[in-house]
Symmetry: C2
């Protein structure tokens, strides 16, 4: 498996990891778009959101809950944060291992890109 | 309860509903930011993502899975779509009932707002 997010999740490549549990790993984006910009990935390789099925509902929710926990740890939960997931080309997905962006530390604009 | 998204979800206010099941309702955004812009809400009132706890993981995942199903129904799953959730002021959350935006039908820019 030559997936960079699998390799960060399993420790083969060093990421700036800020969260991990049995199923989810969170690490800082190398090209941050906000003062705090963390990516949350499932340890299991899933290419896009389209590949999730109903049995994955809990895992998906855990990505969001992990983001909320890190936002709280960083002290930005109350002022706010944006969660973003890109699926495929029109959305700008570039790494084909599902990841949830958590952006915080500045006012976010609308539309969201 | 004077929450507009509760009232759309329970049918008290008519929304342009494109998805519903026992726990989730999806309806078109009144101020669309893309050719397809659908909001997915839990029927249960939850103000922000911060109010979810670990027991809600499956419900959160169902919001995302519903968005994926609607993207497939609309024929935009392969070309792509962006999922966005805003939590509190810095993110621009304006309705305090958790909602997941699904935007599709155009190329999305980066950063996401």
């Amino acid at each position: 498996m030559d997936c960079i997010f699998c390799r960060i999740a399993n420790g083969e490549i060093k990421g700036d990891v800020v969260y991990q549990d049995d199923e989810v790993v969170g690490f800082r984006d190398l090209n941050p778009q906000a003062p705090h910009h963390v990516l949350f990935v499932p340890r299991r390789h899933v290419a896009t959101v389209n590949e999730f099925d109903d049995a994955d509902a809990t895992l998906i929710g855990k990505l969001v809950l992990a983001a909320g926990k890190v936002a709280a740890d960083l002290g930005v939960a109350d002022e706010g944060y944006r969660l973003v997931t890109n699926c495929n080309g029109n959305a700008g997905q570039t790494v084909f291992h599902v990841h949830l962006h958590m952006l915080a530390g500045r006012v976010m604009r609308w539309p969201p890109g």
